[in-house]
Structure formats: C-alpha cells, structure tokens
Assembly symmetry: D2
Homo-oligomer: 230 residues x 4
C-alpha cells in the first residue's frame, strides 16, 4: 500500500458537538446547557439513534482535515468530484515534477512482465519531461507527458455527514482500488478521533447487512473490522 | 442587544492548518513537514498575503461552530440562505412555543407608542397560540399565528472562507440590523480563536478602504475596531 | 389548497439531455453523436436503469424553475434549507405587507372556534403592522409583528437530482402538510415537462414499495397516482 | 485550437426568466404577471443594473449545459474543482483508450524538437497501454501509464452566476491556456443564447476596466471583443 493519510485537524469533542446540535432541534433549552448535560453514554445512544434514522444533518457540524500523500492524479481526479468538501492540491504548474514517483497498481506489481513495461515507460516519461523543461517548455506544459499515475499530495476537509457518504460509496468493493485505500485510511483516522460518530460506516453490507447495488459484488464484508483489515 | 453567540467548536490551531494547506500547493514537501516548519510569524505573513491576493480557498479548511440565541425567525430565515454552511435549528413543530419571547427591533424599543402596540400584539399572539393548542390544534399549525419576531435558537457551522464572505455582506451598514448584530458577535468570537485568519474582515470599507456598493451608505467604518464597537 | 405553482422554465428535451450526458461516461462517441442517436424508447429504458441503480448524477443536467405563490413563510423557511437550489423571494424589507393574506392550516379551517380566533389574530396583526408603519417604524421592523403564516412568493430552481431528493423527503406523509402540497404541485408540473425523468418519484413506499423511516406512518401510498391524488 | 464546445441545453428565454425572478423580490405582483410585463428593453436595463450592483443571485435561475471535447485530463482536473456545477465525464475505467489522442500544448507545437520528443513519448505510452491490456491488466490500471494530456470528453452544467465567476477567473491571461480556451468557447456559446445575461463577462480588466490581481499581467484586454478574438 502506498497511500499515506494523516488527520491534521478535527473538531474537538466532535461526538458531543454533534449530539448537542441535534438536541437543540427538539429541546426548549439552549445549546450551552445541553452541551454540559451530555455524558458519554447519552451521547453514544443519541448519535446511534440519529445514524440509524438517517438524520445526518447534525453530523455536518464535525469537520475533519486530512493530508494525503502517495496517491495518483487518477485518484485525486475522482476524489475532487466530491463537491461537499475542500481541497488544496500540490500544483504541477508551479512545482517541478523531477524525481516524482508514479503509483504502481497492484495488478501491475504482481506481474513481472507488466511491471517491467510499466517501469520503463514511467522512466521514459520522466526523461522526456526533463528534456522538454531543458528545451524551455514551461513546467505547466511539459507535465502533459507525465503519466496519470504520477504521485500527488492533497489536503482535504470533509464534515462527518459527507464522510459517511464518501465511505458508503468508496469502501464498496466495486470502487476503484486506490480511492478505496484512501477511504480506508481516512476511516481509520477518524474512528480514533470520533469513535461514536463513526462506530458504523461503509457500504450497506456493513451498515445495514444487505447490498443495494444493482450489480452486487457477491462478497459482502462481515463487519467493519473485516472491511478495515482488507 | 439581544443576540447571544457562543463559539462551541473550532478547528484547533486554525491559523497554522490553513497556512500549511496553502503551502502544499507550491511546495515539493509534504504537509506534515510544512506544518512543523510554520512558526507564528511565517503563518501570519503568509495568511496576510493570501487574504490580500484573494486566494481564499485554503481558508475553507478551518471550521467554526456557533450556538446563537436571542434572535428572531426573521434573522434565521435570512441566515439559512447562506448555503455554504450547516444548520440545526430549534423546531417549532416539536417544541412548544409557550412563554417564548419576541425580539423587539430598536426602532420600536425607542418609541413608547410603538412599543406599547408591539407588546400588546405579541401578548395577544401568545394567548391565541395557547388557546389554539388548548383546542387541539397541533403545535406545528398553531405557530402560524406566532409573530415573525419570535425568538429561536440555532447552531451553525461555517468555514473561514464563507465567514469572510458572510462578514463582508452582513457587517455592511446596509444589512438588516439583527443579522448585523449576529455577524458582529460571530466575528468577535472567531477573532479570539483565530486572530490571524480574521485580522481583517468586514465590508470593503474596512478591508480595502473603499466602498463597492451601488448605493453606498456614505458612512464608511474607520477600521475593524470602529466596526466592532457599533 | 392554497399553494399555486407554475413551471416558468425547464431544460428543453430534459429526458434526452440527461440520457446523452450519462451515455458519454460509457461510450467512445461524442455527445452530439450520442444525442442524435437517442430515440424515445432508448431514452426511457436507459433513464429507468439509471434511476433504479441510483446513478443520479446525470440527472443534475436538467434544471427546473418554478414560481410559487400562496405559501407561508413557515413553508419557505423549511424550503430554503435545501441548499442545492436557487431562490429569489419577495422581500418584506422592501415590499409593504398591507393586505397580504395569512395561510390558514386545514386543522384550523375545519374548526370554527379555532378559525375565529385565528382570523381575529391575523387581522389584529395586520392593524398593528399598519399602525407601526404609520408611526414611522420601517417596514423591515414592523414585519416582526406579522404572523409566521403570512403569505409569500418565491421563485426556485432545482435540478432533477435534487428534485428527486426533495420529493422523497417532502412527499412523505410525515412531512409538514404545506411543504407537502408544494412538493405535490411541483411534481405534477415536472411530470408534464419531463415524464421519463419523473416516471417514479416520491418516498420509498412509492419508489421501492417499502418504508425506510424509523417511525413509519403505517399508511404507505399505493402508487404515484394515489400519492398525487391526496 | 483543439477544444470543441457545443451548448446542448439552455434555459429558454434565460434573460427574461432571470429578470422576472429578480423583480419578484421587490414587487407586490406575482411572477407570471411580472414575466408577461417584461419587454426586451426593460429586461436589458434591469439585468445591467443587477450585474453592475453585483446582485447576481437571480442569475442562478438560468442554466446552461455544454458538451466539450478535445480537452485534456489536465484541464478537466482543474475544471471539476468548480463545485457549483454538474459533470458527466468519459470514464477511463470502462472506455478503452486505444487510439485516443493527446492534447499538444502550443509551446510544444511551435518547437520542432519538443514536438518530436512529445510525439515519440505519447506513441510509446499508447503502445505500453496496449501491451498491458494484452497481458490482462484491467483498463482501469493500464491507464496509469497514459499521459496527463490524454484527450477526454465531458458534459457540464453551470448556472449563469457560476459562469460569470468562471469567466472572471478563467479568461484572465494568467489562467492556464487550455482552460482559457474552454472558457472562451463557452462564453461564445452562451452569448448567442443569452446576450443580455452575458453582455459583459470576463476578468475585471474587461468588466470594470481595472485589474484586481496581486500580480497583474500588465496586458489588460481592451474589451470583450478583444478578449474573445485571442
């Protein structure tokens, strides 16, 4: 695995903030009073009820910021299609790409002939990039020759509601392997920071015990631990 | 003033998180390395440069959650038009409105005849609400008779980019007085938590020294302190 | 029923536009070529497949603009919480409210004592509003005394994906009656303009034959016609 | 120039729809009545006033759908960062890339040595892709070796407000050349369909006669015609 994810910021006491925000909808009390009255057990049972009822809008009040490295521009082009999120990505217009690695898909890695072809091609692309830059071609134009799999870095922020949506889509076995790795590392990181908000997460085989996909993969995960171990 | 705002959650070290996210765009280094290399002075000068250049997308990585009380449904109806934000509001479908106050506009407060009319009317509305509920009318229908100015409570989350946009629009003297009070209290709260991100904020008379409104009020604020003191 | 909805603009040939946009994802051909090759039957079967598989992102390319009248500010305060939409609403800051009606909930209408109390109160609110304006109170402040149920006008635009989400939530029997009326009129209007995109729509009792609500109403609609007739 | 843009759908009578939606905010009349009372001259002067005052929210009611071909994945990765829009893009997971062209930047095209290196490299990338697929590597993994400049197709929908924002950023001389070409073709297309909404558009040198960029290019466009001719 090559994706590396670090949680660089998170809403402090995220579980309690979400529970307090949700409770204000149904209570004559103020938020401060509600917040102080929420112990760990009450927070957990209330959030579980919200999650199971699909009342996820209060989950938006908890925000998580990740730094991700070791992923390809193939993966980030998919990632940034999630519009309910914020992104800052390493620019190929300004940052020279000399020496950058190309992500190698597992199917290529496990086939020696494919791997040799792949390596040869990425090295040749890097040489051509360097030669174009030496000829005076701007970096922003020379990069057209770099492979899609070129490694990039990105900082992204999503709230807990969007994260649940992201995990439901991107942890499914039918998702592309690289964004699935990214999603798995993100879920591991947020579960450490907000265990109650993410007590259950993932595709419906994990959260509901059944598959809603039109073309099911036929291999449901047993549970969240099973999903995270793969 | 009746609006009461409490910052109940904020991205920790918001100034540095935003600076690190922005720097990754222009640097071959990774986010963790960048984050550790950012001292207070470098963070401040870098964020100032971003703000003045209008490159505000990295500001989205800093998130702020407020609990607001003592504001009317007139104000929240305006507030929730800001779509780049998250809201949880006290429900009038489920929470009975007996005894709730009505926000009194300053122009009414300062005119004894207007105030007497206003009070009489809000009391009569409350009595009718109570009578309708006593007749078996559901709370969600009885509330149709409550005044627009009825007090409500709301929890809201905005990121620092949207907050800058919100402050630019809603701290202008031409904005409605109540949402202006709300914006002022919110700015006070975030300046304590993220002084560099919000070193400058507000309408263009404050941030640029000139007015872009088609119909200017003719009374530009001198500076951010002047604006916050009013 | 008091809500009046008029579809004032819609993407022409919306069914075919959505089908062509979706097909481009899976085809080596260009959009123009795909568009010309789509007859009515192909469009219908392809859109049905997308809808049932939950692949609704191409539905975003079809846009619908409605003018709605005869609904209360209670309803529009709920409505504008849908953030994937655009709104232009009659302003109470600038438009005087003299003579405007108040929406009367059906539970009130059907109870003569409740209706008498309600009428008396709305008339008294209107008188107070007029007196406050006569005293020199600005319209934007006098409106604090107007009832929540005061009639308003709004123009709104949603795309077909958001409309499906809106219909799923707001046509459920558990939704508030007024926004349910609005949703029903909107669905009637778009079904005339884009019959294939909206061949099925509404809560899951209609679209999937089963209820996902935590607290089901116990009275599932038989089908879309049954739902639209109520 | 290689980008090819076709406007495949647009809100009918977009100019009048936007003007009617805006007028409802300030008028006691209903939308239908307002719509019928708007002639061409009134529409034009009203929209000009809104545009110059920066009151662009009613512009959201006009929606435009484009099919774009002949652009690279470099450009679409930038494009899809605009989150207030809808996209359907040709998939490299499902559509085989054999025979697809690579976009050649003008700086490369005009330098024979650079062009020879570039061509050699794109041909070698295509050969490797074909060989990997022949070895049984899935298309979604073989594409990691394809150049960033590989041609793609996309259908996108933006409303007139987001389009104005897009044109302001992406028609600036400092924007990347390819997305600038795309923006120019899009502006040409919408000006034919909604001449009043887009009577003025582009960076501030065109719309306001002055530059707000921190690092100005020093070559302001004379006017919109000058900008569109380049």
């Amino acid at each position: 695995m090559s994706v590396f994810v670090k949680l660089i910021a998170a809403t402090p006491e995220a579980d309690r903030v979400v529970a307090a925000a949700a409770k204000i909808c149904y209570s004559p009390s103020g938020a401060a009073e509600i917040f102080d009255g929420l112990d760990t057990a009450k927070t957990a049972s209330f959030l579980k009820m919200l999650r199971e009822a699909g009342h996820l809008s209060p989950f938006e009040h908890a925000s998580f910021t990740f730094a991700a490295e070791g992923l390809s521009r193939v993966a980030t082009h998919q990632l940034v299609r999630h519009r309910m999120a914020s992104y800052s990505q390493q620019s190929q217009r300004y940052v020279g790409m000399t020496g950058n690695d190309c992500i190698v898909p597992p199917t290529v890695k496990s086939d020696p002939r494919a791997l040799a072809l792949f390596r040869e091609q990425t090295e040749s692309a890097q040489r051509t990039y360097d030669e174009l830059v030496a000829l005076g071609i701007p970096k922003e134009d020379a990069r057209f020759i770099l492979p899609h799999g070129a490694e990039t870095r990105i900082v992204l922020t999503m709230n807990a509601r969007e994260l649940h949506h992201f995990f439901a889509l991107r942890l499914c076995r039918r998702a592309q392997w690289e964004i699935r790795e990214l999603a798995r590392e993100m879920l591991r990181a947020v579960r450490a920071a907000a265990p109650v908000l993410f007590a259950a997460a993932g595709p419906s085989c994990v959260t509901e015990g059944s598959c809603h996909e039109a073309h099911s993969c036929g291999q449901p995960y047993k549970d969240i631990e099973d999903m995270l171990s793969q």
